[in-house]
């Protein structure tokens, strides 16, 4: 297809060149003939005869015509039998049929001639045949065969190759897509590999990106399903065992009461897991910023400090808060408080007595982005687990025995994302540091209402 277009366009190009060259050459020849005729006509008879002779004898290519005729049409000199019929004597170039006397074998052919009457009444005819046109055509044809035909062949070949290759690649993509649809979620669309990316590669890369994300989500959903089942089964199994023991009825009233109380505690934990799950889903689906106002994050930090300082004291943990001035933030106060509270709650839960927890707010060195950071010197999080802690239900093996929904950090991550903040976990040597950085700080999408919504 492409090759055909290429061949067609090169043919057109050659035709155009040929046409323009012909027109140009014809005009040039005609101008020469007219000029020659006019120059000759201005000479006297003897000079004209001499010039006609030189013209005819000097014309080795046999392309020139020159003759002088008496007013009655009899030839005086030159290589034409007579004034060709149909040639007006007006000094302009016309195409007429004529034969030359010095080369009878040629016969009558179309010749460009001009005739004009000189001072003594005789008729001067001068011109050239179309031989140059033949030469020109030959040159063009030659150029065509030497240049255009190989070029066309090349184009045709290249075009066919490209078309074939594209088709092969499309077939591969098609096959890969069919395998993916058939359930092979690890499969990816093929990329041509080296060299600059073409459109097909870029499209494939885009689709592969979508597939990566989908696979990640699928994996997360699957893992979440397993984890939900596991995390719910543990407390529910305990509840069941306790109730069964109570049903046997061989406990005293005090023991019965205590066992039922513990069973209720187990059910509460199961309920807390479900509530937290629903809340995360709600936050993740939420595009809303209705509760958002412009606030000073320091207020939230101070509230959290006040809320958690007593429990740090009872656990004998040094809880310090460090606030540097930062610009106001566009945030939901309740949600921000929940996120920071969750981080501090976690840090206090995992840090052993005598440990240290710090909560810091301030601009980051370099880009000045507002960062909320909670650091502790507790057991910390292993490097390979750091990315996982923000996914639902992830709990380090070391902390699995501790009570909790295992959803706290997922909740924090969901809130952070809603605020355009990036959650990050790092090493505090020893211990753990969690950062919420307002990198792509979000601006109000709509004008903030004059009266705060809270």
């Amino acid at each position: 297809m492409f090759a055909c277009f290429f061949a067609g366009s090169s043919l057109l190009l050659f035709a155009f060149i040929y046409w323009r060259a012909t027109v140009f050459e014809t005009n040039r020849i005609d101008a020469l003939i007219t000029e020659d005729a006019r120059t000759l006509a201005s000479e006297d008879q003897d000079a004209i005869l001499a010039l006609i002779n030189t013209h005819v004898t000097g014309d080795f290519h046999r392309v020139g015509y020159a003759a002088l005729f008496a007013p009655n049409g009899n030839r005086i000199a030159g290589n034409l039998e007579g004034v060709p019929p149909g040639l007006p004597i007006d000094g302009k170039v016309h195409v007429v049929s004529a034969a030359r006397t010095d080369l009878p074998a040629m016969g009558a052919i179309d010749v460009r001639l001009a005739a004009l009457r000189i001072a003594n009444g005789n008729i001067l005819v001068i011109g050239r045949n179309g031989q140059y046109m033949v030469v020109l055509r030959e040159v063009v044809m030659h150029a065509l065969t030497m240049g255009a035909i190989p070029a066309m062949g090349l184009a045709l070949g290249a075009g066919m190759f490209l078309a074939w290759r594209t088709q092969q690649r499309l077939k591969e993509v098609h096959r890969a897509a069919e395998r993916i649809m058939g359930g092979e979620v690890h499969e990816r669309l093929p990329i041509a590999g080296v060299g600059p990316r073409d459109e097909l590669d870029r499209l494939s890369l885009l689709f592969n990106g979508i597939l990566d994300e989908t696979e990640r989500l699928l994996g997360e959903i699957k893992a979440t399903g397993d984890e939900i089942a596991h995390d719910l089964r543990t407390p529910l199994t305990r509840v069941r065992a306790r109730l069964e023991r109570t049903l046997k009825g061989d406990m005293g009233p005090e023991e019965t009461r205590e066992t039922v109380g513990k069973a209720i505690g187990g059910l509460d934990q199961a309920l807390a897991i479900i509530t937290a799950l629903l809340r995360i889903r709600e936050l993740e689906n939420s595009k809303r910023q209705r509760g958002f106002t412009t606030l000073d994050p320091a207020e939230v930090i101070l509230l959290i400090e006040e809320l958690y300082q007593p429990i740090a004291e009872t656990k004998d943990i040094a809880f310090t808060v460090d606030i540097a001035p930062v610009p106001p933030m566009f945030a939901d106060r309740d949600l921000l408080m929940e996120a920071v509270g969750n981080l501090v709650d976690n840090a206090l839960k995992f840090t052993p007595p005598g440990g240290r927890v710090t909560l810091a707010l301030g601009p980051r060195e370099g880009d000045g982005a507002t960062v909320i950071r909670v650091a502790d010197n507790g057991p910390g999080i292993a490097a390979h687990e750091r990315d996982l802690v923000f996914s639902r239900f992830y709990r380090s093996d070391r902390t699995r025995h501790l009570e909790g929904t295992g959803l706290g950090l997922s909740l924090v991550a969901a809130i952070a994302r809603l605020h355009g903040m990036a959650p990050r976990v790092g090493d505090n040597n020893p211990g753990c540091v969690v950062e919420l950085a307002a990198e792509g700080a979000i601006a109000p999408r709509a004008p903030v209402p004059a009266t705060p919504a809270v």
């Binding site: 109380g261 309920l271 509530t275 509270g341 909790g404 929904t405």
Partner: protein, 245 residues
């Protein structure tokens, strides 16, 4: 925990005999609520769809107006939000407690804006519901008062000073707010969630025993050694402040 602990059942609400209308379409949830409320001594009526519920709420029962509405957010025929808007438009002042499966913050705000007085998300614990019901039934407790008094305990809301039997009790600002909240709801079970929401404006269930620690600190200041205790722990539910016995 160094706080004297009692069980929930040991504290019959002083608001019993109040008349409650429950509008809830889920049969089992309704049964549980009705049984629990009846056990606590309340008179409770039930409507299982929004239209009937609205009519009942308007007219009362035997010309007796209801003292409180427990209203499900999603109902057949007329939904909870429409019922409350309708009642408020007709100047029916009955306190309303919303029940909803939707935990969305927006839903909560919408429910309270429409005229609801409290909002509880399903699933909930029955003792949480009854604590909130009692808090709503006791309102309003003289909101413009400048001094609160429960037995020997006195709180001056203007000078922000507290004393017990004339002995000053030194309180931090948030402890003052916490004690004020307890004293505005004397002899009444207050849940941890209620304290977090109303004292700290904090909607999040901490994994740590945060509230207990704050209450413990407050109690050590209020109940000095040798005093009769005034702040009690109610097992699995919350706390109560009452006159020493």
């Amino acid at each position: 925990m160094d706080i004297d602990t009692f069980d929930d059942q040991g504290w019959p609400p002083v608001t019993s005999k109040a008349h409650i209308l429950l509008i809830e379409d889920d049969r089992e949830t309704a049964d549980e609520i009705i049984r629990d409320m009846a056990d606590r001594g309340y008179m409770i009526s039930h409507a299982d769809n929004g239209r009937v519920g609205l009519e009942r709420a308007r007219e009362g029962k035997y010309d007796l107006k209801y003292d409180l509405l427990i209203l499900d957010r999603m109902l057949p025929e007329v939904d909870g939000l429409s019922i409350i808007s309708q009642l408020r438009a007709e100047d029916v002042p009955v306190p309303v407690l919303f029940l909803s499966a939707l935990n969305d913050v927006d839903e909560r705000v919408r429910g309270l804006k429409a005229g609801g007085d409290d909002y509880l998300t399903k699933p909930f614990v029955l003792s949480e519901l009854s604590a909130r019901v009692e808090a709503l039934l006791r309102r309003p407790a003289e909101p413009r008062t400048t001094r609160l008094r429960v037995g020997p305990l006195e709180l001056d809301l203007i000078s922000r000073e507290a004393n017990r039997d004339g002995r000053p009790v030194e309180l931090l600002p948030r402890e003052f707010k916490l004690l004020e909240y307890l004293m505005r709801h004397p002899a009444q079970v207050i849940t941890r969630a209620m304290l977090l929401e109303d004292v700290w404006n904090y909607r999040f269930s901490p994994q740590t025993n945060l509230v207990d620690v704050h209450i413990g600190k407050l109690r050590r200041k209020v109940d000095a050694p040798g005093d009769f205790p005034m702040i009690y722990n109610i097992r699995n539910v919350g706390f109560v402040l009452r006159e020493p016995q």
